[in-house]
């Protein structure tokens, strides 16, 4: 009954350990790295460390690029499972940021032409990185609780806008350059000491809702924000993404554990597939909570209030 595959593209930032624990299959995307050309994306630091990778990236961002798995790669990934008669729930990184969902859609069409009985459900996560990864983990947990293919698929579509991001991205230059930030007029660079606080908008892009001066002020605002938006924290796993912000993530983890006593808080590395587009400076928690308003007006109001209170 629940013998179906849950898969995700490399945008989910789930390390090998998580993939194994939650039985999530991950399809690699492509990375262009300086001196190495096109290589498959990876979720394990082998030739370099996270810190080194982001330091190098910051120096020459234009030497790096990413590409989603193409249609043929998706077909090749789907086919063995289809042949085995397994249904597939395939979750992709937000279609506003990547062509992954489109390629998967084309691949699904080709597979269905070949195997008319194949069962492939494509879900656009509307998220990226650990926020997307957390959604996939939720799906896996539901599967292990005996929820059916249909139930899990519906759950994801219904609840994807309840996955929050509460954190900062203190170097906006990367997201701005790669078009992964909702913006029109913001200045894109590192603003020393300033922590732009961002939440996912309906398309999964990060929107800056406020700014705090200094990490301490930012943490205070974020904790209040999570408190106001999270639901049943004690039943949740919270992910913290970090791209070259490990000490800050660790401090955040402690605060979250103390304040919300969740089932677990995990610091998740942002791997190159997302990291090349996000750049260094991401430090954000992901959790499930109240649905995010379409225009972020509710969330904006909260952040503005908490920032005002912190002054």
């Amino acid at each position: 009954m629940n013998d179906y595959i849950i898969m995700a593209d490399a945008g989910c930032d789930l390390s090998a350990e998580f993939q194994e624990k939650y039985d999530v299959k991950v399809i690699n995307g492509h990375l262009v790295l300086p001196g190495k050309g096109d290589v498959p994306s990876f979720m394990k630091w082998e030739d370099t460390t996270l810190e080194q990778f982001y330091a190098d990236l910051k120096k020459n961002p234009s030497d790096y690029a990413t590409a989603p798995p193409n249609t043929t790669e998706y077909e090749n990934f789907f086919e063995p499972f289809v042949k085995e008669g397994k249904a597939i729930i395939c979750v992709t990184i937000s279609s506003t940021m990547s062509g992954s969902f489109d390629f998967a859609t084309a691949a699904r069409k080709n597979i269905l032409a070949k195997y008319p009985d194949a069962k492939i459900e494509l879900i656009d996560s509307m998220r990226f990185g650990p926020g997307f990864g957390l959604m996939v983990v939720h799906a896996s947990i539901l599967r292990s609780q005996g929820k059916s293919f249909e139930e899990v698929s519906q759950y994801l579509v219904k609840n994807r806008n309840r996955f929050h991001q509460a954190g900062w991205l203190d170097d906006l230059s990367f997201v701005a350059k790669k078009g992964r930030l909702t913006h029109s007029k913001a200045f894109f660079g590192t603003l020393a000491g300033i922590k732009p606080i961002g939440e996912f908008d309906s398309g999964g892009m990060t929107t800056v809702l406020g700014k705090a001066k200094g990490a301490k002020a930012a943490y205070a605002v974020l904790l209040k924000y999570i408190e106001a938006t999270i639901e049943n924290p004690e039943e949740q796993y919270i992910f913290i993404a970090q791209s070259s912000r490990y000490p800050q993530a660790e401090a955040y983890k402690k605060m979250l554990e103390e304040k919300f006593s969740p089932k677990g808080v995990f610091i998740i590395d942002v791997f190159p597939f997302c990291g090349i587009n996000v750049g260094p400076g991401l430090m954000a928690a992901y959790y499930m909570g109240k649905p995010i308003s379409d225009d972020l007006s509710t969330e904006r109001e909260l952040i503005e209030r908490f920032i005002a209170e912190s002054k």
């Binding site: 029109s184 660079g189 406020g210 001066k213």
Partner: protein
Amino acid sequence: MSTRRINGIHLEKMVKNGLAVLQRHEDEVNRLNVFPVPDGDTGTNMVLTLGNGIRYAKSSEDAGAYLRSLSDGMLLGARGNSGVILSQFFKGFAVELTRSPLIGPGELRNGLIRGYRCAYDAVVHPVEGTILSVAREGIEHIRTQITRNSSIESILSMYIAEMRKTLSFTPEMLSVLKEAGVVDSGAYGFILIFEGMLKCLYGEVIDPKELPLPQTQPPVDLSLFNENSEFSDGYCTEFILQRLVNSKYRQDFNKDDFIAELRFYGNSIAVVVDGTRVKVHIHTLYPAKVIAFAQQYGEFLTFKMDNMQVQHNERDLIVEKKQEHKPLAVIAVVNGEGLHTLFSNLGCDIVIDGGTTMNTSSAEFVEAFSQVDADAIVVLPNNPNIILAANQAVELSKRKNVTVIESRSVAQGYFAMAMDIPDSDDTAFRISQMQSGIADIATISQTVASRDYSFHEISCRKGDEIALLDSEIVSVGYDYAKTILDTMAVIEDIDDKETCVLFRGIGVPEEREQELYELLSAKYPMMDFEFIDGKQEIYHWIIGIT
């Protein structure tokens, strides 16, 4: 000789003479600057403020009318704190005498009283031992002695004598002066103006020096005048003519006749005679005729001619540019190319070049307000000596939508800009974000002393490395880095600080960034450091810590 009443023409001559005397002593007043950093000199600021008033004022026999236009010009041209206070004094003077075509002893007394009161009102925290004190005591000590029969000369003589007395006490009133062994520069400048006015009554008239241009002209876009343009504005023509004794040249020079002749060729005529030199300003459609006429008397030392149509068209262009409407516009004052670019990139709509020793005038702010089309305007003066002028500009412009965020350094201004959320529709929230940006920022400024200085335990010689915390010198030495480290150590909650932004001044080698980074990060390992090539003048380093 005794004068019982003066009219607007007398007064104009007196004020001009006041300016001339102040100009003679401008350097001397500047040297009284107790601070070893040449930033916003008092003498220069006062000369520019009064000079702008004189340039703007319309000659009139009616003393009240003359004073009104003089004070309007001064309010606009006010630079620096001393300039603002001076302009406010003249405003009070003008308000009191606005209906007085003639000034007699009673009017003069009332004007001098109203003047100092107005000046006090303009300052949030009046400081004694400054212009305010001399202007107040000068008149308060003599007001009862003024009678209907007092001559203007005797009143001014007494007034000046009392002010001089107070001036000699300013070091007792203000400890910085005492430590530095000087009297207050602004107060001294103020007295000089009145001495010049009195001297005029005694016939000691001095020709004023050429005034520096109020602001540097922006580069002119020549493409604005092309084959399709119409020409009706003429040329702004300025020259200094050296009269020559050689018999080839006419020797019958007479200023009045000279001006009368120039009137045939154009308007906006100004002629200043300094010995055998004649400085001329005229707007004319026929510069060749002006040149031919003037050349009968001598040869040109300098010559400048601008096509006013280009400038006119440029103004039209600015008006057109203005059409882009914004909910919130930001005007910032900075010095240095790097900072200029940075503030533009951060989203400032107008970045005013703060110059080095020349503080931004109220007029420059008013001009900037008119160039933006926005529902609300935020001003970042980024200098304690410019805040008053910015506030005065808001008052003069009668705009209700301008907020002066009282940033006292570019570091504070930087954090204000960094905290803005340009994407937000909530202007009040954006302004409060920016306002919060300047809170809790310690600013360290590091440079080399421009003069010997002594205050409390701190003393330095010209050429020493010095570092200031906010506006106070904290460290003196031979090693720039050590002065910075020592000053940082003085910041009360330095261990709670998270971020340090360092703006590198013009001419400071780039390698020093690494050098400084290593020293600072060794001492404050938890702090984030950001280096910005500010290219500012005067200060080698401006450092914001929060």
